[in-house]
């Protein structure tokens, strides 16, 4: 079999009308597991809401925070969700720019994941604020009191970066969905028809629209990539701009970006398996796509591993005593178990992705991807907590494991994300229909072309054989010797 056929990510012979029908059907009647997942998410969210109400009423002390641990899991979780949001951009923008066709069936949910994990992430700084009712003070607005936010603070950068990223990625997601909205408008009934009729903004699919669409989509993709990188660099600045050991590290921005892409890819793998099952998407989310995702994840995992080791090495060779002792404490101190979990899940587990059999085995991939995510979560925690626990001032050393309130909120954030995501995939096609059509169209042509060439080559070969033993490219003399 040829390379194209062997690698083909989708059956090119899919009827276009079937693509429409399948995707629409999936939105209307998912498997029961979907509803179970939805219920679980709501329950999780409920825990978090209850915990947050308590915390709001009584103060941050209920989260168990204390003098050295002014930040803890909330910020770690914030970084985790921000990180996860990078996968959508990666799959959709970067792979779009480099024309990787296989992204097409799965980029939609990855982008949705971006938006929703950003929405989850954005909540955490609020939950974590002591006086959240004054949150708007972070925004630059003209006030007769003559006061402004402090633009020097990385937290204000965060506010700028997150709002830019959230609006841009939401727009990117929306723009990319317009042609699909038109499909849904044309092929659904009832409220859905009206709903999509509004959202498709009057898309007809004429050449002018397609042309501008392509241009816009490309421009947005181009902006989204540096934006995504800047967002996570800025999040890393929350730490890197400080003076604390274990935070004030030059490699933090790229390290964070790599970590973000890593956790994002891992999350895509998880959701890939889940959606494929929930919505019976086996034909669209094919194993070949999974394989490619796995390979990409592996590559990024290695980048992250490298940067992580570089960070350790830099700390070690930098010989700043505070940093160095902290590193030793991380590996041997009270957080050692967590630290080694991070090393195992982040650096060792990805090697399972080298095995094709495992890559094509969905349950294994579910487990692996969850392990990778766990590794990435504890990585964030390992950034935030040990520095606070063992910073410059030994008198204030303390180890914190958080209270029920804190855990409930962190746990519930997964429910919140899941809820948003599950509602999204129920309302909007999680597979981009028009792009799958494009994919089939191009694939068909490539295969035709290839077959054409093959026939051509076969003919030429036949001709050459018929024409005698003379080989124009060969060097019989040498070969004979």
């Amino acid at each position: 079999m040829s390379q194209v056929i062997q690698d083909k990510v989708i059956d090119e012979k899919l009827e276009w009308s079937r693509i429409n029908a399948d995707v629409i059907a999936s939105m209307q009647s998912p498997r029961r597991a979907y509803w179970v997942a939805l219920a679980v998410c709501i329950a999780m969210l409920f825990c978090a809401v209850a915990a947050e109400i308590y915390q709001y009423k009584y103060g941050m002390g209920s989260a168990g925070l204390n003098n050295p641990h002014m930040w803890d899991m909330y910020i770690a979780t914030f970084v985790f969700w921000i990180g996860m949001s990078h996968a959508g951009t990666l799959l959709s923008a970067i792979l779009h720019i480099i024309h990787a066709q296989w992204r097409k069936p799965i980029y939609r949910f990855a982008e949705a994941m971006t938006t929703f994990s950003l929405m989850t992430a954005g909540i955490f700084p609020m939950i974590h604020l002591g006086r959240v009712w004054n949150l708007y003070w972070v925004l630059p607005y003209v006030s007769d009191r003559g006061i402004w936010p402090n633009f020097r603070s990385p937290l204000v950068w965060d506010a700028f970066a997150i709002s830019t990223y959230l609006s841009s990625s939401a727009l990117f997601l929306f723009i990319g969905m317009i042609p699909d909205m038109a499909i849904l408008r044309d092929h659904t009934t009832g409220w859905r028809k009206k709903f999509y009729g509004i959202l498709c903004l009057g898309w007809r699919g004429d050449d002018r629209q397609w042309r501008n669409f392509r241009r816009t989509y490309m421009l947005l993709a181009c902006f989204l990539i540096p934006l995504a990188i800047s967002v996570h660099s800025i999040v890393s600045s929350d730490f890197a701009m400080s003076i604390m050991p274990g935070w004030h590290i030059t490699t933090f921005p790229p390290y964070f970006v790599a970590g973000a892409l890593y956790s994002g890819c891992a999350a895509i793998m998880t959701l890939f398996v889940a959606l494929r099952y929930f919505f019976r998407m086996e034909e669209y989310m094919t194993l070949n796509i999974m394989e490619k995702t796995c390979k990409l994840t592996f590559a990024i995992a290695m980048v992250w591993t490298y940067l992580n080791l570089i960070e350790f090495a830099a700390t070690w060779y930098g010989h700043n005593i505070y940093d160095k002792e902290l590193l030793i404490d991380k590996a041997t101190g009270p957080y050692a178990a967590v630290f080694w979990t991070m090393i195992f899940c982040g650096m060792v587990v990805p090697f399972t992705l080298c095995f094709q059999k495992l890559r094509r085995h969905m349950p294994s991939m579910l487990v692996v991807s969850i392990l990778l995510n766990l590794g990435m979560y504890v990585e964030r925690w390992m950034i935030v907590a040990p520095t606070l626990a063992m910073s410059h001032q030994p008198h204030q050393w303390d180890v914190l494991w958080g209270t029920v309130i804190q855990w409930a909120i962190v746990f519930g954030s997964f429910g919140w994300f899941g809820l948003l995501f599950l509602i999204f995939v129920k309302l909007f096609p999680c597979v981009s229909m028009y792009e799958v059509k494009e994919l089939c169209f191009h694939l068909k042509h490539e295969i035709e072309e290839e077959e054409h060439e093959k026939q051509h080559a076969a003919k030429a070969k036949a001709g050459a054989t018929a024409g005698g033993g003379a080989s124009p490219a060969g060097n019989p003399g040498l070969e004979g010797a």
Binding site: S17, R152, G202, Q209, R211, N212, L219, F223, E438
Partner: protein, 174 residues
């Protein structure tokens, strides 16, 4: 003057492109290639080649948005900092350039993205009224070709359509 609009539906792109080629080749008096609009469920890569050079100017607006964002960013921040008297912090200057660069960068992207999107909505005729010449099959797998013609060329265009296996032809008066 063109006073008719015709919509023809085709099974695949090749049929539609043949019609376009014919319209280009025959040089009908009232039909220019610019009068032809092609509607499709996906974007065919050769569409530009076939329909001729139809520019899209979104990028210029994006550039404008970006430039505005970065300049506004700097002056907005600097003005706020210079008028906010409680800025002596950590021994840093009042107008702190490194931080402003970071925020300018964000504002560049913010404004660029929004201008791009707004321009896109305007330029591609979204949010405007749809003509009646539309078929729901366009979002399945059929290709539509809309041609604006005058009375004289109406029949010849129709015949092109039929010759090229048009599945359906609709017509409306302008």
């Amino acid at each position: 003057m063109s006073n008719h609009r015709l919509l023809a539906m085709f099974k695949d792109f090749d049929d539609a492109f043949e019609v376009v080629d014919k319209i280009k080749g025959k040089a009908l008096s009232s039909v220019e290639i610019d009068d032809v609009t092609m509607m499709s469920p996906i974007e065919h890569p050769d569409i530009d080649e076939k329909l001729g050079d139809r520019p899209s100017n979104i990028a210029y607006f994006t550039l404008m948005g970006a430039i505005f964002g970065v300049t506004f960013g700097f002056f907005f921040l600097a003005a706020a900092q210079a008028s906010f008297l409680v800025q002596p912090q950590g021994g840093k200057p009042v107008i702190a350039l490194p931080t402003n660069f970071v925020l300018m960068y964000e504002m560049l992207i913010f404004f660029a993205v929004w201008t791009t999107v707004i321009t896109f909505l305007g330029m591609s005729g979204l949010l405007s009224r749809r003509g009646t010449l539309y078929s729901e099959k366009l979002t399945v797998d059929e290709i539509g070709l809309v041609v604006e013609v005058s009375d004289g060329d109406l029949e010849s265009v129709k015949s092109f359509f039929k010759e090229n296996r048009a599945l359906e032809i609709r017509e409306e008066k302008v």
